[in-house]
């Protein structure tokens, strides 16, 4: 579906999600309202267990919410079939994980080429684009390195390259700096702002790391499954 520049990338209203844990029902999201705009880096912060990860899982289309409305680029993911949703994620969503989740037996170059291969590109074309992306994140000299041969910062940059290589319109990151030292964390965020952020793209970063808050355009604070405050940051 075509999205106008004024439309929000993500639009959530009264979103709820509950889990059943043994005899108890846990309300992870209790009526979340949230909008994420194109060209914006939004950080989602809050204490552990407040529902941040559940919210980005819903927004990224890997978890269905119970009630409320959640549109991503004007698409209601909950209404989509399993395969359509998988295809939507493959085309529109990039993921960056706390533990990088790079396939340990593949080189950096091969890891970055995965999203393109999943979209059906030929291997040579996928590797060429992956090489280009790794050069953009400053890893031209580590193309053939296995994840185990990379430092934490380098591994996270490979993960960022993998999240960006297929030009998704939404990137969700779960604690991307928590496994990194302060300096490396700052550099990773610089890569995010320099490489990932664009007018037609939105970034959502879940983090506890207040050292990187200054990279956000807005910070949404969550508590007990609700957004309790949204603060705008000084323009970058």
């Amino acid at each position: 579906m075509a999205v106008s520049p004024t439309d929000p990338a993500v639009y959530c209203r009264a979103v709820t999600k509950s889990y059943v844990s043994g005899p108890t029902k846990v309300m992870a999201l209790q009526g979340v309202d949230l909008e994420v705009r194109l060209g914006e880096l939004l950080m989602l912060v809050g204490p552990s267990g407040c529902g941040k990860t559940t919210l980005i899982s819903v927004v990224a289309g890997i978890l269905d919410h119970d009630e409320g409305e959640c549109l991503v680029f004007q698409e209601d993911l909950r209404a989509m079939g399993r395969n359509s949703k998988t295809l939507f994620r493959g085309q529109n969503v990039g993921f960056v994980f706390q533990a990088f989740n790079l396939l340990p037996t593949l080189t950096a170059l091969e890891n970055v080429s995965i999203p393109l291969l999943l979209l059906g590109l030929k291997k040579t074309e996928a590797l060429s684009q992956a090489r280009e992306m790794l050069e953009r994140v400053g890893l031209a000299d580590r193309l053939q390195s296995l994840p185990a041969q990379l430092s934490g910062g380098q591994a996270q940059r490979v993960a960022i390259a993998r999240a960006l290589v297929h030009r998704p319109r939404l990137i969700v990151c779960d604690e991307p700096t928590s496994a990194l030292d302060a300096g490396t964390g700052q550099k990773v965020l610089e890569v995010f702002r320099g490489t990932a952020l664009a007018e037609d793209r939105a970034l959502i970063i879940v983090t506890h790391d207040n050292r990187i808050f200054n990279f956000a355009d807005r910070i949404a604070r969550m508590e007990d499954g609700r957004i309790v405050a949204v603060e705008s940051q000084v323009a970058h």
Partner: protein
Amino acid sequence: MLIGDRGKYLGIIMGLTFASLLITQQSSIFTGLMTRTYGAISDLAQPDIWVMDPKVQFIDDIKPLQDTELFRIRSVPGVAWAVPLYKGLLKARLEDGNYQICNVLGLDDTTLIGGPPVMLAGSLSDLRRQDAIIVNDVGASTRLAKPSRVPGGRPVPLQIGDTLEINDHRAVVVGICRVSRTFQSQPVVYTTYSRATTFAPRERKLLSFVLVKAQPGLDPQTLTRRIREQTGLAAHTAQEFKDLTYDYFMKYTGIPINFGIAVGLGFIIGTAIAGQTFYNFTLENIRYFGTLKAMGATNGILLRMILLQALLVGSLGYGLGVGAASLFGYLLGGTELSFRLTRELLVFAGSAIGLIIILSALISIRKVMTLEPAIVFKG
């Protein structure tokens, strides 16, 4: 992904190799053993038809006929020739005074039809000499061998010119032959029909089988029917008699069960090792399967990934196992071991390994298919 995990990769291949080896080797020994059950029929290539008492169930189940039956059979239209065959277990006294049971075959005196397929020393026609017998090479060098002249030395194989006593009758070795290994381990002794009946204890009936050749152009099946109808005896083509013998051993002996257990054990162990290792591998890598799912990999892609990995380890395990079984058969080729690896057995072992990897992969496939990609954000 699996290849990168050397321990598990080799573990699965080892498990499948072991299963493939056990299944192929035991099946080959079983087939070899069962082939031996009708080895004596295979050696007699000339006759089209075997005629016998209707109650005979297999080649060693001798129920003698009257000699006059031979003439009745010869009178059946379509019979080109019919010759008698004596087959029986007789006691031979060796030079050192020991006794040894021998499988004695008495051939038609005139034609010597039914003689050994390969003569190693002497000639078949030497059986026409007085008291002549031909002994098979394995029997001559083992059970019928003469004691060493030197204390503790190796026994001396029986040679042309040596004598034995068969049921108190003098027998002179005039030839050494090679025969197919049979289910019985006794030495095989060939002589003429008339001499064999002299060796044998006195009985009213001594004719074990009548070997028949159909006239040119006549279907042996038609002739067997005719012989049955006109004589009331059982008549089988060589292949039918082999099948009858094979079926008897399959039905009335524990051989299929014993080998079946060994093959089944190989299958179960292979499935257990491969299945468990494969599943552990999947569990340890579930985060990566989740990541791939989150990034847009469909269940179909992940299914192909798992099956490809299963196919790879299955092919390697199958090849190594079959190779090891072949080597085993090759190295023990000249021994008493019965080993017959046929194309059908290769297909059988391949199918068994295929089934093992499918079963092993199924558990993993189920886990991955039902995996929620949201797992990627959990710890």
